[in-house]
């Protein structure tokens, strides 16, 4: 593990997209197998948070037999504290479009969609212009691939891939049971590759520079770079491209205000790390050798000692309570109960032991909820309650 003392900054994603025509032309001529192998050997994992190997996803869809297949770019960025995808689509849209077309070539899809969250409606006209220019170029080199924007309408859960398909099919955005997985049965029950905006942008880097260049960045199990959305109590809020595998202590050194008491890694559905764990915690995907390693869709929220962790948790739970799709009981009722529960403890209506009951409830939600939303509420809940118990009571 190459855990250096400093953060290693990188500059791939936002650098020079003027060469997209060449990248497209060059890669569209390569065989499907070759492109899949390149992606697999880069060890790129999905940048939306879940971290599924991207090459494998493309491979499964490529191998599926079907009359129609789809490529979907998931731009339903709703995780509190995350804002990198918007920046990618604003600054380097052609990288994403190119990656989608290459994916279409690999799996045999002629249609692609960008599912854009309703809050980013202002991006639509510019993005449509880019799509128009892109499609015009595709025609000149005989690439048969079209891209359309599908607008969301203010529902966080639609970032969950199967809920997103439901939404695109004109229904309530309620997650489906998995399996079947999207790679085999996704939008309109056809094989679908659905990738986060940032993931697609990284495939562009890989197809441009080769898998090795990407693989050589980061650490074992967490290869490459990642965009981090930094917010909260920091003198430098913004978006930064860093290599994976850094320690949280290094991160706080660089981005903290000198008084950081905790960092929420991965947004409301992620984990809170208190100061005493900064050194032992790394940012990347879980792996056998990486110690305590936290995955993240990129959200890094810093809190200094002036902040009440009760208020933070209260705010997260209110968020989940509103954004739960309501389909399954553990999540629908659980989110409400956790939210009411901490308020009851704070106001003295329930005693401190009640927190233990709530911790067990969170565990039950983790085990029995249908999708990632209900399953991940326990992450922030347990890590905040366990590390800042006194703040929940007094």
């Amino acid at each position: 593990m190459s855990n250096s003392d400093q953060l290693k900054r990188a500059d791939f994603i936002f650098k020079n997209e003027n060469d997209w025509e060449d990248i497209l032309k060059k890669n569209i001529k390569r065989s499907q197998q070759e492109l899949i192998n390149e992606l697999i050997s880069s060890e790129l994992k999905g940048r939306g948070g879940a971290g599924f190997p991207t090459g494998l996803k493309w491979k499964l869809s490529a191998e599926a037999e079907s009359d129609a297949k789809y490529v979907i770019c998931n731009a339903d960025e709703g995780e509190p504290g995350t804002f990198k995808d918007r920046e990618i689509l604003s600054l380097v849209p052609f990288k994403v479009l190119t990656a989608m077309a290459i994916c279409g070539h690999v799996i045999g899809a002629k249609e692609g969609f960008i599912y854009l969250r309703g809050e980013y409606f202002f991006l639509k006209p510019r993005l449509n212009e880019a799509i128009h220019e892109f499609e015009t170029y595709c025609k000149t080199i005989h690439v048969d691939f079209s891209i359309r924007i599908f607008m969301g309408s203010g529902a966080y859960i639609c970032g969950e891939e199967t809920a997103l398909f439901e939404s695109m099919e004109g229904k309530r955005g309620e997650p489906r049971n998995k399996p079947p997985y999207p790679a085999l049965s996704g939008y309109m029950n056809k094989p679908t590759v659905i990738n986060n905006v940032e993931t697609l942008a990284h495939t562009y880097t890989i197809f441009k520079y080769g898998a090795k260049r990407f693989y050589d960045l980061g650490v074992q199990f967490s290869r490459g770079t990642k965009l981090f959305s930094v917010s909260g109590d920091t003198p430098k809020p913004g978006i930064y491209e860093l290599e994976l595998g850094m320690s949280l202590a290094d991160f706080v050194n660089d981005f903290g205000d000198g008084d950081t008491k905790a960092v929420q890694v991965g947004g409301a559905s992620g984990f809170l790390v208190p100061r005493k764990r900064f050194t032992e915690t790394n940012i990347g995907f879980q792996g056998k050798l990486t110690g305590i390693s936290l995955p993240t869709g990129g959200s890094m929220m810093l809190f200094n000692s002036s902040r009440s962790m009760f208020n933070v948790l209260d705010n997260y739970l209110e968020f989940f309570r509103e954004e739960s799709c309501g389909q399954c009981t553990p999540c629908r009722v659980g989110c409400q109960q956790l939210w009411r529960g901490i308020k009851a403890v704070k106001s003295g209506d329930k005693n401190a032991q009640y927190l233990d009951k709530l911790l067990r409830l969170a565990e039950t939600m983790q085990l029995t909820s249908k999708c990632g939303l209900g399953q991940s509420v326990a992450n922030s809940f347990s890590s905040i309650v366990e590390n800042f118990r006194e703040e929940m009571i007094y």
Binding site: E77, G78, E79, P80, G81, T82, F83, R86, R117, G118, E119, Y120, F121, F122, F150, M151, G152, S153, G154, A155, Y156, S167, M168, E169, G170, K171, R172, G173, E174, M188, S229, V230, S231, G232, D233, P237, G238, I239, A268, M301, R307, N311, V312, N315, Y316, F319, E322, E323, C325
Partner: protein, 163 residues
Amino acid sequence: METVSELIKTLADQHGRNRQNLLPILQGVVEQEKYLSESSMIEIARELDIPASEVYGTATFYSFLSYKKMGRYIIRVCKTITCSMKGKNQVLLAIQDMLKIGIGETTPDGVFSLLQTNCLGFCHKAPTMLINSDVYTELTPEKVREILSGYLAKAKEGGDYEQ
């Protein structure tokens, strides 16, 4: 401006009459009408040949598809953690004070509605709000008063008042 039923027909022609086109059609109606009335939901159901209950069930799932009449300009103030740490409450108070409405309410002249919303994806520039689809960041009470004055002026000269 088209009547609602004309609008629904135009939207259905433009997008298609499959179930997959339901959301774009709902969005198109909300864009013009600022909400989905019961009768427009029934009309959409007829146009796409699906049960009205399905249209209602889908529409009410999404927070941007209002089924209550909204103002010409819908203000959505972010209430998620970073915005709330960086002074969202003062911003909200300034708006309420200036427009004399509470959260969830619409001004009597039908120009503004005030809502709170979850993370808008500009946390590094908190606090933030949307007015229709325009984003405003790094808000302060002063800044917000200035922005709203701009909209008020626009509403007056454009004869934007609707009753």
